[in-house]
Subunit: 527 residues, 2 copies
């Protein structure tokens, strides 16, 4: 049952005068629940509660936090209203819902398993005799930075929102979370909030470990990022939104760690042979990657660089025909749709050729493939900006030198994809090197969409793909964003965190005087 | 032999019109070498050269980089002019020189040993069958972020300057370095530059792996931080300098990772029993820690909180007498001295009582211990700012509640020290908790000065101790500041970095499908 209220810990609150409703993008109709925009007072309450909960949450055992994470996954799995609300608010279909729910719950479960292995603690112990014979003892482990604010993404109502990767990362690190729910899917958000609250109660987590605030406007997010009790932020969304909040976070009296994943153009490069030998397979694969779920993925291939050859024209036609053959799909909301239609039609005017499938149904985006040459691309800054929707630009380059020139002009990217045959690798080696310097993830002979929740995943990259290239938003190492090291010098055993006590009671891997203990032995014998 | 020139790779350049000389702080006399302030053109040259060197340096083997680091240490060890120049420029004595040189070369050697163990690569491999039966392969490792700018610190001409922790961290990560030499010890800097250049030649490092620019003014540093070829910055120094450069780094078109360690007040807390049982030992230890090398350490204890008891007056007198008994010492330079004398005498006016040993020799600072109560401290914002020099404030608190109140008012700290007897630990538990939330390193029954170069060291902390609490500036993990993850999806073995190839040819620890391989087995058998 939806209430439309803000969840300040366990307290439901809707004291403000501003309300809003979410809209079904397939019909344009408002959904019934009225959501209360959080007031300044509600923002303060949630932040202060999170600050109070922080030391209590930090002091829960790893096992308790692991159970909390699994409990959230279980509660999401049994939320019966979730599927309908998700589809109503997002325009995404039930197949996508099931994929995304599984991804979200797997993510929570993978963090649960990961924290129990103990590597993330980075326990390190140095003991030595100093020159003057005094015993010196220094130990270090990781702990949470403090309360974390999470901004839900429009395009992943589950996996990058209320109980998505940022929230799971923060909980895994022992940090209370305040979610600013996304105004395009606040109902989906509230159902997930209820799952989190049930899980928190069931596993005895402290009051204030989680709060959820509604807001249609930007102001609630701005207030949260600037609140002195908040110690870090996770954001997934547009460049303009992410950059504005990043600027606020760095201009606070106390600047705080801020991680935004802000999308990317995800350049794809096609060698001469790949166009020739895999024309049909490749053009279809790319067309699906560009138009699937209306191209509303931060890893959608937005630029396709083609080294010209005698088969390029045929390949481009094949790709264009596939783009036209793909069904139009409902976009996430009217704002996103209007922005997309305006931007893509403006860009189409700049190119010599375009393949366009006009949208037919209400709320659907126009599939578009624009074709330009290298000089067009270099001279048009608009082509260097992400277009969020079923749109991509083919850049036909007369020679590899022009491709290099174009790559050098690119900003940081989440991904870079290169298609070439094995025998062409030597020829493309410097291209691989160039693209790698700009990207968080490199793909060989594939498509960039489909971000798998693996430990080896880097979902991030040099600015503006993310605000900090040293972190990932996906995979178990995403929790690093919310961890800091603390050292303890000559501490009595009783005051040390469990992972640093003389006896390795948690059986975690530890670095002792610079050498890792043997992890398998640890598992068997506790060191 | 000093030239006073800028080192742009292997090229010596002094094309600017602005020159300066360093000054012997013990005599106030200028030293003979004339240093050329870098021009905009020289800044550009150094940055572009570093950008070009980056992919070449990244592609050197770990062994080659390890040899480079050791070679720098060896070349510093054989630099015969270094000791005299260090003492002339800094006013520090030969004992300190030898300690600091050993620390610097040990640091370089410890990074050399560390990178060869391979943990820092964080190699991770995930292979799995997807639902549709397709083999998926994702691998991840760390690599350097790009060219790094390093700012030398006034108070550590060796260990936190030209070839100090930041430079060693960046080289270890495969990042070229441009040092902005400190204008108070450019001669010491140039001798170390020559050692680095000799080492780079000897180990065949690429041209541009290292440059060194001189500057008396702030402008060269500002230009460097804003240069588009620069991808990260390491800074050690004052809050005002660090914060100004941090702001520039976040306001670039491409914001970049910026780590500044900006000092701290390093609060010390004394229980009733510790004052009583260890009065003489403790007061002497603290007095040395406050006045050693004129208190010019970022970890100097600047605040001493005392829980009042019948022995407090005696303890404070004993501490004050020790402060007065300590010899005055030459400070690093006239600017630092003047600033110190002004600030400390201003503060003395705010307290009821002070122990002062007037400076006697030229360039020497006045040892000062101010005594105030908790309310004085809470109501005077000046007392919450670091005073760089032989100065500390005793805050006599009527009860533990007042100490808690004072701690809550503190900003982030590099260190927090608590003195109490074992039987008092229970009573002080919440104090330990409070101080820990504000500190990078906790010390039990010791003094905060003496930052050991251990892997377990955290030299950093919540803002303003550092600009990012998630990193350390000291210890092998300091290289993390300059590393980023890159993932490779379905890559052919030949294109993968060595640490990710199917066969573990580097014999490094790897996480495979979420489980660490057995490191000892790896060392024996290569997996």
């Amino acid at each position: 049952m939806l209430t439309g209220k803000n969840y300040i810990g366990l307290n439901l609150s809707g004291t403000g005068n501003t309300t809003f409703q979410s809209i079904n993008p397939a019909t344009g109709e408002s959904l019934p629940t009225v959501f209360f925009e959080a007031t300044q007072d509600e923002v303060d309450q949630a932040c202060v509660l999170a600050e109070r909960a922080f030391p209590i949450f930090q002091s829960t055992s790893i096992r308790e936090r692991a159970n909390f994470l699994v409990a959230i996954a279980e509660e999401i799995d049994v939320s019966l209203e979730l599927e309908e609300m998700y589809c109503l608010e997002s325009g995404l279909d039930t197949t996508r819902f099931r994929v995304e729910r599984l991804r979200t719950t797997n993510q929570l479960r993978s963090f649960s398993a990961h924290i129990q292995k103990g590597y993330w603690l980075e326990a390190s112990i140095d003991t030595s005799q100093s020159n003057n014979g005094i015993q010196q003892d220094l130990r270090r482990c990781m702990e949470g930075v403090g309360p974390v604010v999470v901004f839900g993404a429009s395009n992943f109502p589950l996996a990058y929102s209320t109980a998505g990767g940022d929230t799971a990362s923060a909980f895994a690190a022992g940090c209370p979370v305040i979610v600013k729910s996304h105004p395009m899917h606040p109902g989906t958000g509230e159902l997930v909030v209820q799952a989190i609250i049930r899980a928190a109660k069931r596993t005895n987590m402290p009051e204030g470990v989680f709060s959820n605030l509604n807001s249609l406007s930007f102001t609630t997010g701005q207030k949260l990022v600037q609140h002195p009790s908040v110690k870090a932020v996770g954001f997934t969304g547009s460049y303009s939104g992410g950059k504005a909040l990043f600027d606020l976070s760095t201009r606070r009296d106390e600047p705080i760690p801020f991680f935004a994943e802000m999308g990317s153009l995800n350049p794809v490069f096609l060698s001469q042979k790949s166009q020739t030998l895999r024309s049909e397979e490749l053009s279809k694969k790319l067309a699906i990657s560009i138009t699937n779920d209306a191209g509303q993925f931060c890893t959608k291939p937005g630029l396709i660089f083609i080294e010209a050859c005698m088969n390029s024209e045929e390949f481009i036609n094949s790709l264009g025909e596939h783009i036209i053959a793909m069904a139009n799909t409902t976009m996430l909301g009217a704002g996103i749709l209007n922005n997309f239609q305006r931007t893509s039609s403006d860009l189409v005017k700049l190119g010599a050729e375009a393949f366009v499938r006009e949208s037919t149904g209400k709320g659907q985006g126009t599939n578009t493939l624009l074709v330009v040459n290298g000089n067009d691309f270099l001279s048009n800054p608009q082509m260097h900006e992400e277009v969020f929707g079923p749109f991509s630009i083919v850049i036909l380059c007369s020679e590899i030198g022009m491709i290099h020139k174009c790559v050098r002009s690119l900003k940081g990217q989440l991904t870079g994809t290169i298609h070439c045959e094995k025998e062409e690798i030597e020829k493309y080696k410097s291209l691989f090197e160039l693209v790698r310097q700009k990207s968080g993830r490199m793909i060989y002979n594939g498509v960039p969409t489909g971000v798998r929740v693996y430990g080896s995943m880097t979902h991030g990259g040099p600015f503006p793909a993310s605000t900090d290239p040293r972190f990932t938003a996906v995979g178990v190492d995403a929790m690093r964003r919310f961890l800091r090291p603390v050292s303890f010098q000559n501490f009595p055993d009783i005051l040390l965190p469990d992972c640093l006590k003389d006896k390795n009671i948690l059986w975690v891997p530890r670095r002792i005087n610079g050498e890792m203990n043997n992890y398998l032995d640890v598992q068997k014998n506790g060191e």
